[in-house]
């Protein structure tokens, strides 16, 4: 009897509590967050020059956005008030592995946006999967112009120049500072990026400096480390200009080995990605070396409050100035934030979909620490920016980049709808 009474009482009280709970106002839902997958080389030879500085910048900016510490127009907390959460993974591995990891990011980790990829091979492999999974994906560093040339994309964007700017800018710079040059040679790594860079430079030379004669093209394998014979061959060629898209430890080894042999005195050596190692090598980079950064990045960044804020924050946090890879990441994240907030406003304050962010980003103009960039190529998916080159000068044990020349975006990037190679070929004289 007692047991029955207790049971009935429990049911009644439980029912009342259930009703009360149902009638109580719902607890406020956790604020929606924006999950961004960051993919970059965190191990292997690409980590130090590209992957890690870019990852560092991504983390610094995410913290600054979440704490509303960034200057206008990036001063809205998080992304439109929603906190940003980064999921950082390593790009190392084969393209197959990278594609698998991309799928994991989207399908398992449920990221809203992916920003990443240094390797052109990886970005070309990931792009079709991004389209398949309808996930907004921004390539922050990879330079292949083929990304949008082979097929139009809906969800893939690139917020910075592609690699054609390196080569055309280099040829324009040679024309400006060494118009009497007659011969050129190359030293590029024997893989997709090295071959494409050399091919682009050959095209750019035919377009801008048709009088230049090619002497030799050295293509050592990636991470060869030993360049004695290649340097001898370049010295023998007595070329006025030497083009090199070599990067990372390979570039540093080349500089260390070629410097004492006088190659940099004999020829004007262009290091299209030389900026990434500039601060570490310092005066080991011989005077006269021509340094590129695929855009107005690093020491080439224009003076602005935004650039001052960005540089000082990176230096404070990591004790090293941001290099070109860091700037490219900064630009990519900032462009994404602006497009997200634009899409958010258009969506009545509700979290926008990939389609809505893509619509907002397409054709957008934005300003980052490297100045104004416009998504004006490839149906508004490929941004362009000015290109800068300069020459190394040693001043009081430090290096400075003198004779800087700035080229407008339409001087170094092909017109909309025209393939880079076709553009250079069409301008042959």
């Amino acid at each position: 009897m007692n047991l029955s009474k207790k049971l009935i009482a429990s049911i009644v009280i439980g029912s009342m509590m259930g009703v009360a709970q149902a009638q109580a106002p719902a607890a406020p839902a956790a604020p929606a967050e924006v999950k961004i997958g960051i993919v970059s080389f965190l191990s292997g030879p690409g980590a130090a020059p590209f992957g890690v500085p870019a990852r560092n910048t991504a983390e610094m900016l995410a913290d600054a956005f979440n704490n509303a510490k960034a200057p206008a127009p990036y001063n809205v907390k998080g992304f439109g008030g929603m906190p940003v959460k980064l999921v950082v993974i390593d790009e190392a591995g084969s393209p197959t592995n990278v594609v698998t990891e991309y799928r994991n990011l989207v399908q398992r980790d449920k990221v809203d946006i992916v920003i990443g990829y240094v390797s052109s091979g990886n970005c070309l492999a990931v792009a079709p999967i991004a389209e398949e999974l309808k996930t907004l994906t921004l390539m922050y560093d990879c330079g292949s112009p083929r990304l949008f040339e082979e097929s139009p994309k809906k969800y893939v964007f690139r917020a910075v120049n592609h690699a054609t700017a390196d080569s055309v800018g280099a040829a324009l710079y040679i024309k400006a500072i060494k118009p009497t040059a007659k011969t050129y040679s190359g030293l590029n790594q024997n893989y997709a990026f090295g071959q494409d860079s050399w091919s682009d430079f050959q095209g750019a030379v035919k377009m801008v400096l048709p009088q230049l004669q090619e002497k030799t093209s050295q293509m050592p394998k990636l991470f060869a480390g030993q360049y004695s014979a290649e340097i001898s061959s370049l010295l023998e060629s007595k070329s006025d200009v030497i083009h090199s898209s070599i990067w990372g430890g390979d570039m540093e080894a080349f500089i260390l080995q070629a410097g004492p042999r006088g190659l940099f005195k004999q020829s004007s050596v262009i290091l299209t990605g030389g900026e990434v190692s500039m601060f570490r090598l310092g005066t080991k980079i011989p005077e006269g070396t021509i340094i590129g950064a695929r855009g107005p990045y690093g020491v080439y960044a224009p003076k602005s409050a935004l650039n001052d804020w960005y540089r000082s924050n990176v230096i404070d946090r990591y004790n090293a100035p941001p290099n070109l890879a860091a700037y490219q990441m900064a630009h990519t994240i900032m462009a994404t934030k602006l497009a997200f907030e634009k899409a958010l406003a258009a969506n009545g304050g509700n979290k926008p979909s990939s389609d809505q962010i893509a619509d907002a980003m397409r054709g957008m103009t934005y300003e980052g620490p490297g100045g104004v960039h416009k998504f004006n190529l490839s149906n508004g998916h490929q941004a362009t920016a000015e290109m800068v080159y300069g020459r190394v000068k040693h001043v009081n044990g430090q290096i400075q980049l003198v004779d800087q020349k700035r080229f407008t975006p339409d001087q170094v990037m092909p017109p909309d709808g025209v393939k880079a190679a076709d553009w250079m070929a069409s301008k042959k004289q």
Partner: protein
Amino acid sequence: MSNLLIVLIDGINYAAWLFISAVGLTLIYGVMRVLNVAHASFYSFGCYVAVTLAGYWFSHNYPPHLSFFALFGASFIAGFAIGWILERFLLRYQYAKDEVVILLITYAVFLILDDVLKLIWGVDPYYASDPYELLGTFNIGDMTYPNYYLLMIGSAIVLSLGLTYMLKKTRFGKLLVSVIHDREISSAMGINVGRFFSLTFSFGCALAAIAGGITTPTISVVPGLGVDVIVLSFAVVVTGGLGSLPGTALAAIIMGVVRSFCVHYVPQLELFVIFSVMALVLVFRPRGLFSLAEARKI
């Protein structure tokens, strides 16, 4: 004529580097029949130890010319010590297993050690080019060469002669040769085969590390730099005949010189040339140029 001389010097220089890089691998295989994939990590260890010490040495203004002894010595000691630990606490218990299993174990060690390197030194590149520039340059015609390459060539010659002398003339070497030919009989004759294995493995690892130490002043030390070295070393050792010292030297010279001709005259083929030489040699001599004769046990 001077052009040909330049090609030959480039070739010999590269051959010296190949030989120094590969000799530890062939020594270990020759004595122990262990194909040590972790050779790549020991090379990297040598590089990192050398670059760290060089930074310390030159920042403290110690006598510059003594830096060579310090760099090479430190690399050697580091390689020897880690090799000894590896043999003593891991490989010693695996000798009864199949050669392929041991190869996989050394591959696992390579992966682990590469991560250990990243744990200690991070992913930033380091360089220490002071020793490279310290020795000055020499000229052939209007071509300038750093004298450091002569040091590298000299080191390869000294290593080659020293190892040959050790194997052929010293008591230790003669006992080692008997171990190479027959472990069981050597053991039955009272030779402590285990100790010889331990010393050989440690010494082979030390040679890999010293190769890294010698190379360091010419390169930027970055994660993963040993991968290419193990591939090239393997190609040299297989072409020369696994375990053969003169074979390794000859294969290195052939590959170095052929590669140099390619770089100078047909640079498009440089990527394939070393492996083409290996394939060509193996077509005619499947066990390499100087394969070791093996006594057939009945």
